[in-house]
Point group: C2
DNA sequence: GGAAGCATGTAAGATGTTACATGATTAC
DNA sequence: GTAATCATGTAACATCTTACATGCTTCC
């Protein structure tokens, strides 16, 4: 049992193993079909995590011989692994969500584009969100017939509600776009622009 | 003029400079008060980007001597920089949004916690989202008096709508939580769990 | 006298991605 | 025969974060 630093991705792995024992291969598939939506873990990360978690005594792999398929190593949570997972789950700090939304950058810099272009961008973003919402709805229906899936349903519902919000924002936003281009030339009137920045609330304390 | 690879963070910098010429210091402040909400760029990244963009001829720095304050280097967009920015803006590919939401991990693994705990987590997450929504509302009011800020308003509106959706999801979700703990033991019934994963739609094509 | 703001960076490392490598078996 | 699935990894590198370093000025 070695003391290692557990990151959120480690807990994602531990959590999945608390639902079913799995090989690295299965784990990656499971990630892509579950937590990958809101906490991506790449294939090589999965294997890297397992290679860290096992010597630390949090998971335990067992070689399984298969006929007709390659041998594999199936990992299960150890008691120490359960404790580590539960102690992380125990704190009700939600943890800071991280968002990276490239199309908002393009939206914010709309002053440099012909007005119609930004409307097109919003339409495209809205369409994608609507398609996503559809997927989530289907998934929810499917979960209705799965026993003990209440927490999964609530999680999927998050994706649905956010996707719906983005889709309806895209509609709402198109009506608010200016019809004429307003070009901002930073060499002519920098004062106004910097003042706008100063007026805006900062993401966090500035150091 | 050197050909360099521009990342999304580069365009964030170029875009801000298309609103006002600024020093690295000012740029970081501007990031934290604007694009940082949906595209974070750290202080050292800002300076690193400027050091890349200038030799490539996309921005041009000018030394400005100040009395009572340290000297600074103010950067402006060059014509090549404007072209690079506009050509990126020109494509209406929205770009793939990235989300990382730790509390959804904790929600999904609720089967390991006493039932009340997950409700507490949702309450905390909902409260934070509601507080955020309030901030966005204030910011929107402030922008009402700023001329030519239509694109900024639309961008802030996105944050507001998403925050509202998260807050109302947190309310809705609490009613859907199971009252009794259902423990899933991966050593007893792994079949059900893995089948659930298989039924779920994958984030993207699996390779 | 001390804290906070202005100003610019470096250095180290955390974290994660993509592509590559390998090889057997099964389904079409 | 060819593609896909199962299975496990390595190697290279892209990207970004945190903490540290420095020094002057203004405000309390």
């Amino acid at each position: 049992m070695v003391g290692i630093k557990l990151r959120t991705s480690s807990y994602a792995i531990l959590g999945l193993l608390s639902i079913a024992s799995m090989s690295g291969y299965d784990l990656f598939q499971a990630v892509e079909r579950s937590v990958g939506r809101f906490w991506p873990v790449s294939k090589s990360q999965v294997y890297a995590e397992l290679a860290r978690l096992e010597p630390a005594g949090l998971v335990q792999g067992t070689d399984v011989h298969q006929q007709g398929l390659p041998d594999k190593r199936v990992f299960r949570l150890t008691e120490a692994g359960e404790e580590a997972l539960d102690s992380w789950l125990g704190s009700s700090e939600p943890g800071e969500p991280q968002f990276r939304v490239p199309f908002l950058l393009k939206t914010l810099f709309g002053h440099r584009r012909p007005p119609g272009d930004t409307a097109g961008l919003l339409r495209a973003a809205g369409d994608e969100a609507a398609a996503q919402a559809g997927q989530y709805r289907e998934f929810l229906e499917l979960l209705d017939s799965v026993p003990d899936s209440a927490y999964a349903r609530v999680t999927v519902l998050f994706g649905l509600r956010v996707a719906e919000a983005v889709a309806s924002w895209a509609e709402e936003a198109q009506a608010l776009l200016p019809e004429r281009a307003h070009r901002i030339d930073p060499r002519r009137e920098p004062r106004l622009a910097t003042e706008m920045f100063r007026a805006a609330p900062a993401v966090r304390q500035l150091g």
